[in-house]
């Protein structure tokens, strides 16, 4: 195939740039509730994000990447002209990356998921033909964008209520917190690792049966609970600190839970959002490697996920830390107990979506989780105007991503043919 290496290099450059953008911009959103609740410092947030975004991308990013790679376009109509798909995927990457850059420059909230999906659907519908888009699958994805914030909201509400019942509304909330927080931590570890193992870790050389997956997940959960128990036992009850606000000591126990939840959130974000950057690379590499054939059943090369993970981490370290730092300078009344409920609800929803291959917006899901706690009367004040802006952004992002992708598609097509 002509220009094969150029295509791969271009794909990697654009994809890496996109991953960098996700790390620079989006990771801060995922870490917003954790840093905002004061449970972790900015420095810790960056370390947690770097480790868990990367492992999320590498270990659990495969399914969504496959969806972006070949789940939305019916390639049978372009079997003879595979280069069209290459131009399209390059255009989609470029469009999403440019849109991300423009939006970040103007300070608009932007979902990388929506821009890449909009871009792919855009170039396929206009560049190839309406019939090339698998509308059923795209419809499912669009539905998941509505369902995911709702799900997170419901889970957050339920988590918050369970915390009230088991810990806050008891005669000795501090003792209750010490008793139940390790159980919540077990749950976080168990759910996240179970979903990850269920979808298989074959690509990193781990082939587990269902039984083994349950067993290992339970072991990870118990391990995390035990370690956190050590930290929790070190927390001393200081009655003097409770004079002004009666739950200061209880919240200190929740802070441990918030740290674990922050890790889960970073993992979930990496597992879902890495696909936005590397899905198109995987598609292009697949075509080139099979010598121009659009293979339906080719395996996902793991180095692509690796590249995405590295890109996100570099984005985080070079630029994203500054965005996270802006949170640290603001004071918020978000306490760890509600930060945990909202964040864990979002992380669980995102990880399950990653397992089923659904590209969803982490930010929207997190907003859903926060609203869930707000509806349970757990948050002092929520700025509905900002929330509206966040949700409105995806209405604008879809046509913007699509439009840019169409333009880039025709430019690339005229350059290479």
């Amino acid at each position: 195939m002509e220009y094969a290496y150029i295509f791969i290099i271009l794909a990697c450059v654009f994809g890496f740039f996109m991953a960098w953008g996700i790390g620079a911009n989006d990771v801060a959103n995922a870490m917003g509730t954790s840093v905002g609740s004061g449970a972790i410092t900015i420095k810790h947030a960056i370390i947690i994000a770097a480790i868990f975004e990367f492992s999320g991308a590498l270990l659990a990013g495969g399914e969504v990447t496959q969806t972006i790679r070949k789940g939305m376009i019916d390639t049978s109509s372009i079997a003879g002209t595979p280069e069209l798909l290459i131009y399209g995927m390059l255009a989609a990457l470029l469009a999403a990356a440019v849109w991300l850059l423009v939006a970040s420059y103007y300070g608009w909230p932007v979902s990388t998921t929506h821009s890449i999906v909009g871009a792919i659907v855009g170039f396929a519908a206009v560049g190839i033909g309406m019939e090339a888009v698998m509308w059923g699958k795209v419809g499912t994805i669009a539905m998941s964008w509505i369902i995911s914030p709702l799900t997170a909201g419901v889970i957050a509400y339920a988590l918050f209520m369970s915390v009230q019942k088991l810990i806050i509304d008891t005669p000795d909330p501090f003792a209750s917190a010490k008793r139940y927080v390790p159980i919540y931590i077990f749950m976080v570890g168990f759910i996240i690792s179970l979903v990850t193992m269920f979808k298989g870790l074959k690509h990193v050389g781990l082939d587990l049966t269902t039984m083994q997956a349950y067993l290992f997940s339970a072991m990870i959960g118990i391990g995390m609970a035990l370690i956190s128990k050590i930290f929790i036992n070190r927390i001393k009850h200081e009655p003097s600190e409770d004079e002004d606000f009666h739950y200061t000591n209880v919240e200190k126990v929740f802070a441990v839970l918030m740290i674990v939840t922050a890790c889960a959130m970073a993992f979930a974000h990496g597992s879902n959002d890495v696909a936005n950057a590397v899905g198109p690379i995987a598609a292009i590499v697949g075509i080139v490697e099979s010598g121009g054939e659009i293979a339906a059943k080719s395996a996902l090369p793991i180095w692509v996920l690796f590249l995405g993970g590295v890109g996100i981490v570099i984005g985080l370290v070079t630029y994203g830390h500054r965005v996270i730092a802006t949170i640290g300078t603001n004071i918020t009344e978000l306490t760890p107990s509600r930060g945990f409920a909202a964040t864990l609800a979002a992380a669980t929803t995102v990880v399950v979506a990653s397992g089923t291959g659904m590209p969803i917006s982490t930010t929207h899901t997190l907003v859903g989780g926060v609203l869930g706690v707000g509806l349970a009367r757990g948050i002092g004040a929520l700025n509905m105007r900002i929330i509206r802006t966040i949700f409105m952004s995806w209405v604008i992002t879809l046509p913007a991503g699509a439009g840019l992708a169409i333009i880039f598609f025709f430019i690339l097509k005229s350059i290479f043919s």
Binding site: A28, Q164, F245, I327, T332, E333, S337, G380, I390
Partner: protein
Amino acid sequence: MSNYVFRMFGSSPMRPLQDHMGKVHLCAAELVNFFEAVIAQDQARITASQQSIVELEHEADKLKKSLRLSLPKGMFLPVSRRDLLDMLTMQDNIANKSKDIAGLMLGRQMELPESIAPLFLTYVKRSVDAIAQADTAINELDELVETGFRGREVKVVEKMIKTLNQIESDTDEIQIQIRSIMFKIEIDLPPIDAMFIYRIIEWVGELADLAQRVGSRLQLMLAK
């Protein structure tokens, strides 16, 4: 560059509302000192005390304004915005009324007849008690947010409001006693002076009323 998830969190109005009530409480509590000075006929102390009441009222006013500005429409709150703003107005009225009482008494150089003076001081103290109790209840607002306005904490606050109502009815009792003494001695007082003493009696009673209304508004918030 900003973080959108983080910007969702508005500043909670609960702390500022508590701070405002704290200031209002300080302002009203100064009335005890003021009345002691009036009874002692210590002119310098009266003037100084009135001055600090005016200052505290002014500070409360500033807190009120900044809280109002931080509560634009489009804020999603755990309690109704209307209730919060009404509560703020009632709290502020306590400070205003305290200022009015001190201002009128200083301006007219009022004196309290010896036969009612001790009881009057008790009356003022009990009214200030009502305000202190309202302050204690308002101070539970951030705890109420923590508990999602549910469970034990709600019971704690309801109990505080019950005590507040008790204190308010004490002030009513004392007011009746003062009025009955006044009825016996008013004939010997200059008529205009008697008239203004009746007005002060009324206003001090209103202080406790306002405190009670702050409590009832808090109860409404619990029931949302």
